[in-house]
Structures are given as structure tokens and as C-alpha cells.
Symmetry: C2
Subunit: 173 residues, 2 copies
């Protein structure tokens, strides 16, 4: 009987954690959709502290003519403003796409607690795909990485975006 | 006679290139000194296009409460503004210190032509020390890296800064 109760409690806890991951990733996904509406590569990010969103961002590289205006960088900037501090030690960074070298580096510099991302990025990803920046032992801070949250929806949006880009190019040529 | 002339011309060209490297690194070093005056880790950077400086920056992480406010990121931002474009294809990035993962990643995203840096950074460097971001073949852009320009002066300034920090801490304790 005791074992069954423990099992039920454990399943409940796991479900709660999963729901929280999905809940916050959904907010990052909303940001990705804002980027999509602006015809930017649809990537979104949020920073979460004690279950509250303290930073949001979506990719704005084309709009701002700024290669560093990635969703994660904008969300981190908002989080620095929230605290008036560059240390985000107890904060989680949710990203729809696996962060690139720059963004993973920025997360380490900011001492982010966890990176939670949706879809892998085999071309630029630096959380396992090309580099593994968050878990590199030589750096002064390491970040736990959780991946695959809402992967299907996020991948579908990315595919749709790039298919539309290809179609537009074909129509022009 | 011909061989001697060719040799002299070659030596002259090499000297000119070296002088240019030193000339521009000196400008980045001036930026590092500005950071030093503000009691920031003394790192400076400039972006050069056709022998003209189009972006400058010095480390302002403490002042701006922003972990991403590295010299290189600020210099790149100024260069985007100069062109109204995020592509810096024919630009060189001069940095007093080996760029970190974030800054090296940003340079690759910006399609920088060359990174020229002064002193190695064994703790954070991502141009050979911990990672080698600029020359990673899996990424969509590769950057030539030249190092060791004004290394002694730059290292001396860094050492002086950290010695002063240690002294201040000892006086407090």
C-alpha cells in the first residue's frame, strides 16, 4: 500500500514538473510565433524566476539589423533589467530552439540555473549538437540542460517558415 | 639584384601589415584602458572596415549590470549601426583578449572576416583555449584568427587590474 502511495505521489510530481515545462515553453512558443508574424526565423525565449516570467524575447535579427538580436539575448537583457543585476543564478532560460554558441555562452556568463529547450538545432546548436557549452567543465559555471519540450509543435513551425521562404524564392526566380 | 629587391619589398609589406595590426590593436587597447578607468575588467575591441574603425567598445558588464556587455559585443553593435546591416563580411574584429564563447559566436553570426586578438584567455577563451568557435567546420562561416599582437602590454594591464582587485579585497578583510 505504502509503495503504491509513493508511486502515485512520484507520478504526480513528475506530471507537475512536465506541465510547468510545457506551460513555460508554451509562452516561449508564443514569442516564436511573434517572430514568425514578423517574417523572422521563429525562435522565442523566456526567463523564469520562482515560477514567474521576468524576461521575454523573440528573434529580431532582420528587423534590428543585428546578428546578436536572438530571442535568448533579448530575454536575458530583460531579466538583467528586472533585477538590476547581471547574475541570474536561480533563473531558468526556456528557448524554443537549442541555443547557439553565442546564446549558450551568454547563459553561462549570466549563471543561468537551467536551459530548457524544445527542438534540436543541428546547424548552430551549442547545447550538444555542435558544441556543448552549458556543461563544459573548464568554464566557471555549468548549466543543466533539458530538451525535447514541445519539440513537435516547434519543429513544425520552423519547417513551415523555411518552406514558405523557399516558395517565395521560387516565385521570384 | 632582383631577388634582393623582391626580399626588401616582401619585408616592407610584412612590416606594414604588422604595423597595421599594432596600430589597430593599440586603438582596442585604448578602449581596454577606458574599461580599466571604470574599474571594469580591462578588455577593449574595435571593428575595422577598409582600414577605418567603424565600431568601438570596452567591457561595461558591471556598469550596465549586463553579462553580455563585453567589449566585442558593443563594438559589433556599433558596426551594425554603421552599415544598417548585420553582415560584417569584410570587417576585422580586434580584441585585446581572446574572445569568449558568446563573443566568438557573435563574430561568426556576423560573418566577420578576421579576429585579431592580443592575449590568450585560458579561463574563457573560445578561439583555441576552451573551444575553437571561429574555425569550427560544422558552422556556416569560418573566421581566420591572428593572435599575440601587443600581448605583453595587454597581459600586464590585466595582471595589474586583478592584483589591484585582490589588494582591495585584502584591505577590506
Amino acid at each position: 500500500m505504502k509503495i503504491v502511495v509513493v508511486q502515485i505521489v512520484l507520478i504526480y510530481i513528475v506530471c507537475m514538473i512536465d506541465n510547468n515545462f510545457e506551460l513555460f515553453m508554451n509562452m516561449a512558443f508564443r514569442e516564436a510565433n511573434l517572430a514568425y508574424q514578423d517574417e523572422e526565423v521563429p525562435v522565442g525565449a523566456i526567463v523564469v524566476f520562482e515560477d514567474k516570467i521576468i524576461g521575454r524575447g523573440h528573434n529580431q535579427t532582420m528587423q534590428l539589423h543585428d546578428a546578436t538580436a536572438h530571442a535568448e539575448m533579448i530575454a536575458l537583457s530583460a531579466a538583467y533589467n528586472h533585477f538590476g543585476d547581471w547574475r541570474l543564478e536561480n533563473c531558468d532560460l526556456y528557448c524554443t530552439l537549442e541555443p547557439c554558441t553565442m546564446c549558450a555562452g551568454a547563459a553561462v556568463l549570466s549563471r543561468i540555473n537551467r536551459i530548457i529547450y524544445g527542438a534540436k538545432d543541428p546547424k548552430f546548436g551549442a547545447c550538444g549538437s555542435i558544441f556543448n557549452v552549458p556543461t563544459e567543465k573548464k568554464l566557471n559555471h555549468r548549466i543543466e540542460v533539458i530538451s525535447g519540450i514541445m519539440e513537435n509543435e516547434i519543429s513544425a513551425l520552423m519547417k513551415q517558415f523555411f518552406a514558405e521562404i523557399r516558395n517565395k524564392k521560387e516565385q521570384i526566380n
